[in-house]
């Protein structure tokens, strides 16, 4: 059942709450039957739920509360209103996916199922190993416990004992030194192999219009945290029912690919008669599984044209307002009128992934939010290379993992061996503030606490003048500013304030 979702002021909500049940006039007339409404105060979250008994056309009348003063269209008869737990609008299935609620929208509340987070469960063998280690005072990570299981089984007790002790010793020996400049090491470890990378883009399975940026340009793109990657692309995994059924996969591809009229038909312009004719191309439309009906329903939403179907293949279109300019405009408009598919996804192909042993769909263009809702898509594994999109859909922790994964894939695809700890540090540094920040003057570097460090990086004079007004204090805690004033830095051996008193007589 569709619900009406809208944005309103706190004042109006209070007004409704005081007068409930009441009649409330709004400037939007929903075209379906509706019995519930949701109100948002901040474009992003829903705070109130209302029960609507009836919707009628607006007529000025006594005792009708008004959302605003002019252009009112409908009256909602509100039975009750209650404050609900703050729910993000992403939990509503909208006609069109969007990030913000601007005025009115129709949507359906998802049934969101909350599950308790599953506790990580160790295998019994592994927990026995951990227990063995604990009883001897060793702190052994779970991954090593798993590796030790087979030795617990195969080795005699004394040797197993010895092995445990050795592993514990190795762990202690390998711990990172306190005050190590891990940031610089990470930056160097990622930057140094940069010169060995290629700059080519990879053509996906030889499909020319579908390619993925790789190598150095991609790595730069990742650390830049660009709003839109140069080649957005999704990897769509499928649910069990779909992934081994070629026909279903093919159908899914068709429903993914964003198809416009020009993809399946020719548009013929008759300048003399001032008409347009859409001639359906049988081959193309069959290929994309588009029927005449689909085209007609796509035209339904178009304004300023009168259309009628001439025969099986042709639709004649007249203009409401006849002029060459409009004719040309409409022709261009019709070309890109969407018929079906997911917006922003221009191409999709399926391949049998050897690791998976099943069909996987790869796309050019990315629209995570909508694709996840499609029947047959395995939402737990499907992913995109657009980091910002992942941040918007899943949140910052997912974005962190996406940065890590994308960087790791880019480097390993080039055959470069970079420790994952460095990539993790980069991902964590870019995301620990709660939003994805770029590496560079717009992001991390521009927000350093030190005036001198900022002045040394870029835009020197601006930072110095501003610091004077603000009365900023540079605590000289970082590296760049201490080098500038000429004293030891605070990392590594410089982090320790230890003085030898000497033998005084």
């Amino acid at each position: 059942m569709m619900s009406l979702i809208w944005r309103d002021t706190k004042k109006n909500i209070d007004l409704i709450s005081e007068n409930v049940p009441c009649s409330y006039a709004i400037e939007y007339m929903p075209d379906t039957k509706i019995d519930t409404g949701y109100i948002s105060t901040d474009k992003q979250n829903i705070d109130y739920e209302v029960k609507i008994s009836k919707i009628s056309k607006y007529e000025p009348a006594e005792g009708v509360l008004q959302k605003r003063k002019t252009s009112l269209k409908a009256i909602l008869h509100i039975e009750s209103i209650r404050k609900i737990d703050r729910t993000p609008i992403s939990e509503f299935k909208m006609e069109k996916g969007f990030k913000e609620l601007t005025s009115f929208a129709l949507g359906e509340k998802f049934h969101v199922e909350y599950r308790e987070k599953e506790e990580f469960k160790m295998s019994d063998d592994a927990s026995v190993v951990i227990k063995d280690a604990d009883s001897r005072g060793y702190d052994i990570p779970v991954s090593l416990a798993y590796a030790l299981i087979k030795y617990k089984k195969s080795l005699p007790a004394d040797k197993y004992e010895k092995l445990l002790r050795r592993v514990d010793l190795e762990l202690k020996k390998r711990e990172i030194d306190p005050f190590e400049a891990v940031g610089i090491i990470a930056a160097q470890s990622i930057g140094e192999p940069g010169t060995q990378m290629t700059m080519r883009t990879f053509h996906f399975a030889g499909v020319v219009e579908m390619n993925v940026t790789l190598g150095l340009p991609r790595l730069i793109e990742i650390v830049d945290a660009r709003r839109i990657p140069s080649t957005p692309s999704m990897t769509i995994y499928l649910t069990e029912k779909y992934r081994n059924n070629e026909d279903r996969v093919r159908e899914l591809i068709k429903s993914l690919e964003n198809t416009t009229i020009i993809d399946v038909a020719d548009i013929i312009t008759d300048v003399g008669e001032m008409t347009l004719t859409i001639r359906l191309d049988r081959n193309k439309s069959h290929d994309r599984l588009v029927s005449m009906g689909d085209v007609l329903s796509a035209l339904e939403k178009k304004k300023g044209i009168i259309y009628n179907q001439v025969d099986d293949d042709n639709i004649a279109i007249k203009l409401q307002q006849e002029s060459f300019k409009v004719l040309y405009q409409k022709q261009e408009e019709l070309k890109i009128t969407p018929i079906k598919g997911v917006s922003k996804i221009s191409r999709a192909i399926a391949r049998i992934d050897p690791k998976e042993g099943a069909w996987v769909i790869y796309t050019q263009g990315s629209n995570l939010r909508e694709v996840l809702n499609i029947e047959g898509v395995d939402a737990t594994r499907t992913t995109t290379n657009d980091i910002i999109e992942i941040e918007n859909v899943f949140g910052i922790e997912a974005a962190r993992n996406a940065i890590y994964r994308e960087a790791e894939n880019t480097l390993s695809e080039q055959g470069l061996n970079v420790d994952k700890r460095h990539l993790m540090l980069v991902a964590d540094m870019m995301t620990f503030s709660g939003a994805v920040r770029a590496v560079g003057r717009q992001g991390i570097s521009g927000r350093k606490s030190s005036v001198l460090a900022r002045a040394a990086f870029e835009i020197t004079s601006k930072h110095l003048l501003k610091a004077g007004l603000l009365g900023e204090i540079d605590p000289l805690a970082g590296v760049a500013e201490n080098i500038i004033v000429g004293q030891p830095i605070t990392l590594g051996t410089g982090a320790i304030d230890l003085v030898y008193k000497g033998n005084k007589k």
Binding site: L163, Q188, S189, G194, M424, L470, G471, I473, A477
Partner: protein, 888 residues
């Protein structure tokens, strides 16, 4: 407690604006004359070069502090401006204050309620920890709100809109507001309202952004230089200050004389122009002030800004003494921890030695030697260059005064002695992309003029010897020497923090040599064996094999001499690379498949890149982990010596002969290449007649290209396979490729078999002339030859067309490298700048400077990647193997 030897630290630096009073207070003299020197070359009193502001000429004394040239730090002066002038750096702030404050009462145009609310909101933000962008945004929002209001809520006065006529003129309703009026308005803004403008009331007052007094920087900041002709040339800043004083004077005179308003305004604008360009000569909207020669003046902002500016060129990077630079060359008989230094450099570079009761006698002896001592047989001996008295005076030692000076030194003096063997120095090659680009070496003084080092150090420095130069720094303090020895020494850097494996190891011919020594376990005659082992240190010769009454030694036994006792390791060699299971692709001898070392003895297997090379070096890795850096460096030194010893004795050479293949092979390659050409022709014909079936999702043109590319790729591989069938492991080039010493089998296939398809941007060549690559092809010719297919081998030689196409392909590679280096360089600069402040604390958390936690446990396991097993926390399987061997 005596903490005299503890260096003091600057705790923090506070920034603020200078008030006019402060400027006058710190000024030593009011400058009133726009001139510098009189005819005798003596500074004019109250001129821009007045002695109160410091001295730059030897002989003169500072009128303020009495110091001589190097003693006086310089002092400020000041200029009283005839009329106030706007400071160009604060234009935006002045504008927003005029917009948001009341013209009459000076209050911010917010109601009392709003003021209280926002004050609480702003004060809640901690300026040192909150994101500056959030502060900016909040303030901007508040100010915009106030600016929207035209009626002041406090005094009901109406403020018309102020327009900024760039760069420095403000207008209100079309009428200009003079800086004087602006200053008066800003003065009215109460201290308590400053918070909303982003001004700290303790550090600044808004009216200070309008200048009434101008500080004159010390002469040391703007020294004049005397040209060879005896002519004086003034600094750009002095030129600008001359202009400012001159105009200010004229303006004052005109004002006092009651000149017409128009003239006064013109002069005022001119003064504004000079002061604006004095601060920033690249202000948008005004022409830059120029020198007589037409060169734009370099004024204050230009001095600070950019790559050549003060911050990046002088403050973030500093020039140093006690350093040296020379061409590098190889020297396999040096240890990897050593560097060979030419005598001339060793004599010039010095190490300071503080005299104490333990070293005074020895240093006296050294001083007596003078500056250029040698042993009787002419060998280098370190001398002394300078003596430094306890009061800091420096005495230059000469051979004449050496004897006398050796008696003068006492406790507390410092002797600057020349370098000697065993000193520790830093050695560096640019670009310094990672920490292994600067490592500590111990000194060996050698003859010649180049720096020399062991070849295994080439990899971390990314050095070769085609003319590369490197830098060397002599460490000057005891603490630094200790740190360099413990942390920076080459042997401590064997493990790369990038991937947790060795980055130092044998290269090129050294790998070839060890390969030859161990592959198939050859027998060496007693003579050969003794010659080979004479290069290394070892305990005892291995057991010989007796054959026909003569002694022979096994290659693997000789190699085992340099392996430390207690080393157990088992792995697949490079020779076996690419093979799955236990079966090697090329190797039939099972003894060569696996390298097995038990208790420091090579039982079987071939030593190659995988065992000792950089990046893989399994043996180096295991020795380092088990026995430490000292043992690992000893092993690498011995590898170098053994390899050179064996290979120079055995002999090894490569040449075009390596690629000779029999006639039948050539004709087989010919055959398959003809087949491919036919196939391509057919494909093109099918394409032309429209019979080519497009692959799904691709156009017909693309399908053709894909098909042709796969055909040409196939034929190259095929010809390579044919060629390598005839080239075995007795072929020097193949030995180099298969052992991982240099080149790949692919390169050999190109030389002996066929070069193959050339490509640009992943496709066949297709540009040049209209629809063809070269003018002697037909237009739209899609055939193999017309699109960059090379059927010749390098050995047979390329025909002119092929040669041209090959150059096209080669250039793409060059362009790619040029673009890549600059792009990746900038990426690394940004990465380092963003991450330089992160450090691990005692609890293995990662923190930034303000104490925000970035990671709660570094790398999720708290393990140093340098010490990890190629990323793994601990390789349990290897640990078990090392402890118990194959039993289990």
């Amino acid at each position: 407690m005596n903490f005299n030897n503890v260096s003091k630290r600057i705790e923090k630096i506070k920034f603020a604006l200078l008030s006019p009073d402060e400027i006058r207070k710190m000024s030593q003299i009011r400058v009133i004359t726009p001139d510098t020197y009189d005819d005798d070359g003596y500074p004019i009193e109250r001129g821009l070069m007045d002695l109160h502001m410091g001295v730059i000429e030897p002989g003169l004394k500072c009128a303020t502090c009495g110091g001589k040239v190097d003693e006086c730090p310089g002092h400020f002066g000041h200029i009283e401006l005839a009329m106030p002038v706007v400071h160009i750096g604060f234009i935006k702030e002045i504008k927003s204050m005029l917009d948001s404050s009341c013209k009459e009462c000076g209050r911010i145009k917010l109601t009392d309620d709003e003021i209280n609310n926002y004050r609480i909101q702003i004060e809640a933000m901690d300026f040192s920890t909150t994101d500056p962008e959030i502060i900016d945004m909040t303030l901007k929002k508040i100010l915009e709100m106030a600016a929207q209001r035209s009626i002041c809520p406090h005094c009901n006065a109406e403020s018309p809109k102020v327009i900024l006529d760039k760069p420095t003129t403000f207008r209100e309703g079309g009428i200009k507001i003079t800086p004087k009026e602006i200053r008066e308005r800003l003065e009215r803004i109460p201290d308590d309202d400053l918070l909303f403008f982003g001004i700290d009331k303790a550090s600044a007052r808004p009216e200070w952004m309008i200048l009434t007094v101008l500080p004159v920087p010390p002469i040391d900041v703007r020294p004049s230089i005397t040209l060879e002709t005896g002519e004086r040339s003034e600094d750009d800043l002095t030129h600008k200050l001359v202009d400012i004083i001159r105009i200010s004077q004229r303006l004052r005179e005109s004002r006092d004389n009651g000149s017409p308003q128009l003239i006064i305004e013109d002069l005022w604008d001119l003064l504004q122009y000079h002061i604006t360009t004095y601060f920033d000569n690249q202000t948008a909207g005004i022409p830059p002030a120029r020198h007589r020669s037409g060169r734009a003046l370099k004024t204050l902002v230009q001095r600070l800004k950019g790559k050549e500016g003060r911050f990046r060129a002088n403050l973030s990077g500093k020039r140093v003494n006690f350093s040296s630079r020379s061409v590098i060359s190889p020297e396999p008989f040096l240890s990897m921890n050593e560097v060979g230094i030419p005598e001339i450099a060793a004599r010039e570079l010095t190490v300071p030695v503080l005299i104490n009761s333990f070293n005074i006698d020895k240093m006296k002896e050294w001083i007596k030697r003078g500056t250029d001592p040698r042993t009787e047989d002419g060998k280098y001996l370190a001398g002394v260059n300078y003596l430094i008295r306890p009061d800091g005076r420096r005495i230059k030692l000469t051979d004449q005064n050496a004897e006398i000076n050796s008696e003068r030194i006492d406790l507390g003096w410092t002797v600057e002695r020349q370098m000697t063997e065993g000193d520790i120095v830093l050695f560096n090659r640019q670009p310094s992309l990672h920490r292994m680009s600067m490592m500590a070496h111990t000194v060996r003084v050698l003859s010649g003029m180049t720096f020399r080092f062991n070849l295994s150090d080439c990899t971390p420095y990314n050095a070769d010897f085609d003319g590369d130069e490197m830098n060397l720094h002599v460490i000057q303090s005891e603490e630094s020497r200790a740190e360099a020895r413990i942390i920076m020494k080459v042997q401590e850097q064997i493990m790369s923090p990038r991937f947790g494996g060795p980055i130092i190891g044998a290269i090129h011919d050294h790998i070839t040599s060890l390969f030859l020594l161990t592959h198939n376990n050859p027998l060496l005659s007693e003579d050969d064996a003794i010659h080979t082992v004479s290069y290394i240190e070892f305990d005892k010769l291995p057991e010989p094999v007796i054959k026909d009454g003569k002694k022979y030694y096994h290659g693997r036994d000789i190699f085992s001499l340099i392996l430390p006792k207690g080393l157990n390791v088992k792995f697949k060699s490079h020779l076996c690379a690419g093979s799955k299971d236990d079966k090697c692709e090329y190797e039939n001898d099972p003894a060569d498949t696996y390298v097995v070392i038990t208790d420091g003895k090579l039982l079987h297997g071939t030593i190659d890149d995988e065992a000792v090379g950089p990046f893989s070096g399994i043996i180096v890795d295991k020795i380092f982990r088990k026995m430490g850096p000292q043992a690992a460096s000893k092993f690498i030194d011995n590898v170098t010596r053994l390899a050179v010893g064996y290979l120079s004795h055995r002999g090894f050479s490569t040449g075009i002969k390596d690629y000779d293949i029999p006639k039948e092979a050539i004709s087989r390659i010919q055959e398959i290449s003809n087949e491919t050409l036919d196939k391509i022709e057919k494909l093109v014909a099918a394409f032309r007649s429209g019979q080519l079936q497009p692959l799904p999702g691709r156009s017909i043109e693309d399908t053709l290209e894909v098909e042709i590319l796969s055909a040409t790729g196939g034929v190259r591989d095929e010809s390579g396979k044919i060629a390598s069938q005839y080239l075995g492991l007795n072929d020097p080039s193949v030995i180099m490729a298969r052992s991982g010493a240099r080149a790949k089998m692919l390169n050999i296939a190109e030389v002996a078999g066929m070069v193959g398809q050339q490509s640009v941007r992943g496709g066949r060549l297709n540009r040049g002339y209209a629809n063809r690559t070269l003018p002697h092809f037909k237009e739209n010719d899609l055939g193999a030859y017309a699109r960059g297919f090379i059927k010749s081998s390098y050995r047979a030689g390329l025909n002119p067309t092929e040669y041209f196409f090959h150059s096209i392909g080669g250039r793409e590679g060059l362009v790619d490298i040029a673009v890549r280096t600059s792009r990746s360089g900038y990426m690394q600069r940004r990465l380092i700048n963003a991450f330089e402040d992160l450090k691990v604390d005692e609890k293995r958390r990662v923190e930034d400077t303000i104490g925000s936690v970035v990671q709660f446990k570094y790398g999720e396991d708290g393990i140093d990647p340098t010490r990890s097993d190629e990323g793994k926390t601990v390789d349990v399987d290897y640990v078990a193997y090392d402890e118990f061997g194959d039993e289990q």
